[in-house]
């Protein structure tokens, strides 16, 4: 594993059991991820695109190792090799407690800015929580860092004592990003971070994410169904279908010359903000 590779996912398989009958016995399984492999380099954005049900969200959750907590008797195999300062470690077999020291380095931003923030906590508590768990900071140090983080994502530090409902969707997503960045992660997994936002707000959040990436050298796994947004932010792209990566490569190459029939179909279907394109397609 070269030093530039932060994360090396090898042959990841995720099977969810299906329970049925009166006794809720295991009657089958759904193979949501069917043996995929990819690598994430330092400072890059890897876009993970595909339609609903293709397994892209499951991949993100497998990497931060929360599937076992979320789903009863899920079967996971393969390797998620994560490069730390002291060497390479496979995250998959780790228990929750063993995982904790590494969770500071891999953080997540979720799709829904309404349900991903606890409505009963203030911004100060929400953004400060990872600091409380992962660092030895004092209360005052934490408060300082929360203010600094809020400014970094384009919110006012004066808002620390407000509750989530006092913010708009775009502002809430910024709070989610500030929380993800609190522990100085190396990797941020963003699962549809802008798809719930209005067009004009999407652009703001995307720009903030790009600025932060440049400033802190972050690596992103950007999971989304919107092909135009993924193209804009990604260096490399993996196209997923039915639990497999059907194509992976540099973003521009995939958008200009998609090789796999599924990537071609997906791209052809994406609407263009250009009336001339329609005539080209239909004539």
């Amino acid at each position: 594993m070269s030093s530039e590779i932060l994360l090396d996912v090898q042959n990841l398989v995720v099977k969810f059991p299906v329970f049925g009958g009166v006794l809720l016995r295991r009657v089958g399984e759904v193979e949501a991820v069917k043996g995929i492999s990819f690598q994430l380099n330092r400072g890059e954005t890897l876009g993970l695109v595909g339609e609903s049900g293709c397994g892209k969200t499951t991949v993100g959750r497998a990497i931060i190792n929360i599937l076992r907590a979320m789903s009863y008797r899920v079967e996971i195999s393969g390797k998620v090799l994560y490069r730390t300062d002291s060497g390479v470690i496979d995250l998959l077999p780790l228990t929750r407690t063993q995982m904790r020291p590494y969770r500071a380095g891999i953080q997540m931003v979720f799709q829904d800015p309404y349900s991903s923030l606890n409505p009963r906590k203030t911004v100060d508590q929400i953004v400060g929580e990872p600091l409380r768990i992962h660092t030895e900071m004092t209360r005052a140090e934490r408060a300082d860092r929360v203010r600094w983080l809020l400014e970094k994502v384009g919110l006012s530090a004066r808002h620390v004592n407000r509750y989530p409902h006092e913010f708009s969707g775009g502002q809430r997503q910024r709070i989610g990003i500030a929380r993800a960045l609190a522990t100085n992660p190396k990797i941020v997994i963003a699962d549809e971070p802008v798809s719930a936002l209005d067009v004009s707000i999407q652009a703001q959040v995307i720009n903030v994410m790009q600025d932060l990436q440049e400033e802190f050298g972050l690596s992103y796994i950007f999971i989304a169904h919107d092909l135009s947004v993924v193209r804009h932010i990604s260096n490399r792209i993996a196209v997923m279908s039915w639990g497999n990566i059907v194509e992976i490569g540099p973003a521009e190459q995939i958008y200009k010359h998609p090789q796999h029939p599924y990537s071609q179909t997906l791209l052809a279907a994406a609407p263009r903000p250009d009336p001339a394109y329609r005539r080209r397609r239909t004539s």
């Binding site: 502002q171 004009s200 652009a203 958008y255």
Partner: protein, 330 residues
């Protein structure tokens, strides 16, 4: 142009605990026979309320249409009796909603739901209604329609449900189809199929028009002949499709076009953004609704609402930078 629908000075207000929300506040809009008109805007712009007002589907209370005329083939829909407007719904004007999961009734078969529309509006036998239901389902591309009619909505995928919704909407050959975010909940490949289907169905019905409501400018570019941009309960710009994308007039339209990335063409390093966020609907600015986010705002903007003017043939804009001799001022 032959007007099918003319909306004049429409105001739809909602009386809520936190005050009066002027969701639609003076909308003028024409839909010509045979055209596909896009109505674009972000959440809270008033686009869906405009659509619901046309069919008088605004929940009252809290909502109420307080002013305006909606002339459909010369008849004012706002003055019709409850029975008369029911006759218009589904028959002359029909609607397809965003959520294909919730807009079909889960306890009735698909067949019953298609036939219900036919039998509600026309005195036909069950057999005849059944035959027409089979025909329309075939037309929207549901394979084996006789069998599928016996099934329930949960047997259908999201895309198929939206096909069924389109079948229900078009079975009586209405002159106007209102589609409110019809593809927003669907995957991109299914979205393309549904948009194509809507245009095909329209092409087979001479003179039928579509009002397509969406937040997605790319969807508009793919389907519409003309487009109206809404913001803060008002129409801000109306133009033929090519004109709007080539020479947008309004600063808001400019901002919207700059903030969407594309899947092809040169890639901008950064997206241009519209600063700030959509203003609270209870406290809209008195003057131009966009003034709080507009980079070009000057003296008259905060206090005076600009009129909607036609600065180039067919190209209307509501902005103090115009008239500008038919050219973009920015």
């Amino acid at each position: 142009m032959n007007e099918l629908l003319a909306i004049r000075g429409l105001r739809t207000y909602f009386h809520t605990e936190s005050g009066v929300a002027k969701a639609v506040d003076g909308v003028d809009l024409d839909i010509a026979q045979g055209e596909v008109l896009g109505l674009v805007g972000e959440s809270g712009s008033g686009k869906s309320v405009t659509a619901l007002s046309i069919l008088r589907l605004i929940p009252d209370p809290p909502g109420r249409i307080v002013a305006g005329d909606i002339l459909f083939k010369g008849r004012d829909l706002l003055k019709l009796s409850w029975d008369d407007i029911r006759e218009v719904r589904g028959n002359a004007i029909s609607m397809v909603f965003q959520e294909p999961m919730t807009s079909l009734n889960p306890v009735f078969t698909i067949g019953m739901q298609v036939m219900e529309v036919i039998q509600a509006h026309e005195k036909v036998s069950r057999r005849e209604a059944h035959r027409r239901a089979v025909d329309i389902l075939t037309e929207v591309g549901i394979p084996d329609p006789e069998q599928r009619m016996k099934q329930y909505p949960h047997h259908f995928s999201g895309g198929q449900r939206q096909r069924v919704m389109i079948a229900i909407a078009l079975v009586l050959n209405p002159s106007l189809l209102i589609a409110d975010e019809p593809t927003t909940a669907l995957d991109v490949t299914i979205q393309a199929q549904i948009l194509d289907l809507m245009l095909e169905m329209k092409a087979r019905r001479a003179g039928a028009s579509i009002l397509l409501i969406t937040h997605n400018l790319a969807v508009v570019a793919e389907t519409c002949d003309r487009v109206a941009v809404m913001y803060g309960g008002k129409i801000q710009e109306v133009a033929p499709i090519d004109t709007l994308f080539k020479t947008p007039f309004h600063p808001y339209t400019h901002g919207l076009l700059g903030s969407i990335p594309s899947v092809e063409g040169p890639k901008a390093r950064r997206l241009t953004v519209i600063p700030g966020s959509v203003p609270d609907i209870h406290q809209l600015p008195v003057g131009c609704k966009f003034v709080t986010r507009c980079p070009y705002a000057f003296e008259p903007c905060p206090d005076n609402e600009p009129p909607l003017i036609e600065d180039a043939p067919g190209h209307w804009v509501r902005c103090h930078l115009y008239p500008h001799g038919g050219k973009p001022a920015i």
